[in-house]
Symmetry: C2
DNA sequence: GTCTATAATTCGATAGAC
DNA sequence: GTCTATCGAATTATAGAC
């Protein structure tokens, strides 16, 4: 009958509410009510609601960025790298679906300076993907296509994984999911001459 | 030196702010300031902020739904229908990018009953797409793949078009865009035996 | 570590003059 | 149709008792 709050339970509850109602529409009282405590209690765990968002967004954003850097700086071929990127996304998304949801949908509510830092991070991520796809076309591993459309479509098709995963009640085999997604996305990009 | 507000200018300004800051974070005073009037003035144009969101979301949602219904009930083949869906999305998104942004990102802030109506509408849209892809596999126009992953990836890859279009400053030829996107997305789905 | 109480601010919306 | 003035509710966060 433990009623005590752990930081972990607090974060979990907050993330779920942020996903369901949005960060701005979720009040400290909402989170407190879900944990059956008073709102003031929550301030033993965080400095502010704003700081909580910042911590959660950048924690997961850094994981994506670091993961992609390792892929980018590897000796894999371009199309092998793209498969590794799909794999990275599936692994992070199935491990931290609600944090990815926050990353995709609530970064606008970071304070201004931090929002710019976020956009720099995201821009760097997108540029690495663009480079890899461009290299794939150069060595003719990938079909020749409009680079911007290809980059955008690739990123777009994996970005919404979190919402599907959450809706499915997480009843998905991550390994099979990665196979299916790589298959679908990369088949359209590969050069078959 | 016309300072008068038209309903059109009001909607345009509100949509842009909703996209930049999010619906919840945009105050009536924000919109008023951008139009260089007082907040009270805005209530000559709308009944409430909530009603404004509702009107704008369902106006564009209905256009997507009706457009897809027409495609669904046509005599085109499944893969021709998919191409028509991409075309529908490109046309609506390039014509009403900020309204599409609202549709994708802010539906959570509809009031509860209307939110359910929205989800019913979206579910119906997704089911039609799922049907078309399933039929494409049956008649072997499309490769055999996991139906859920294919449907999700297809929808996902066109959903973020609005953000790209807005970022590009709308400097895109819609016809060429439709061609590039159809090409990218459908190449990976077609059966080549 | 959790509570009660409340300060300080902000927001949506209305009343009523012009 | 736009303004000034303001109400009432809601929100983040803090102070201080236990």
């Amino acid at each position: 009958m433990e009623r005590k709050i752990t930081r972990e339970r607090f974060i979990e509850t907050a993330l779920e509410l942020f996903h369901n109602k949005g960060f701005k529409a979720t009040t400290m009282r909402d989170i407190a009510k879900a944990l059956q405590v008073e709102a003031a209690t929550l301030y033993n765990y965080i400095r502010s609601k704003q700081q909580l968002l910042d911590d959660l967004v950048f924690e997961i954003a850094d994981q994506f960025h670091d993961g992609l850097s390792n892929i980018y700086n590897s000796s894999y071929s371009p199309s092998e790298k793209l498969k590794a990127i799909v794999d990275l996304n599936v692994r992070l998304t199935t491990a931290y679906p609600y944090q990815v949801a926050l990353l995709v949908g609530e970064w606008k509510h970071l304070e201004e300076v931090r929002q710019q830092a976020f956009l720099d991070n995201r821009g760097s991520y997108e540029q690495m993907v663009r480079d890899i796809i461009g290299q794939g076309m150069e060595v003719q591993e990938l079909r020749t296509m409009d680079l911007e459309v290809a980059t955008y479509s690739f990123l777009s098709s994996i970005r919404w994984l979190f919402s599907w995963y959450i809706e499915q009640g997480s009843a998905v085999n991550p390994v099979e999911l990665e196979k299916q997604m790589s298959d679908f996305i990369l088949k359209g990009m590969q050069n078959n001459d």
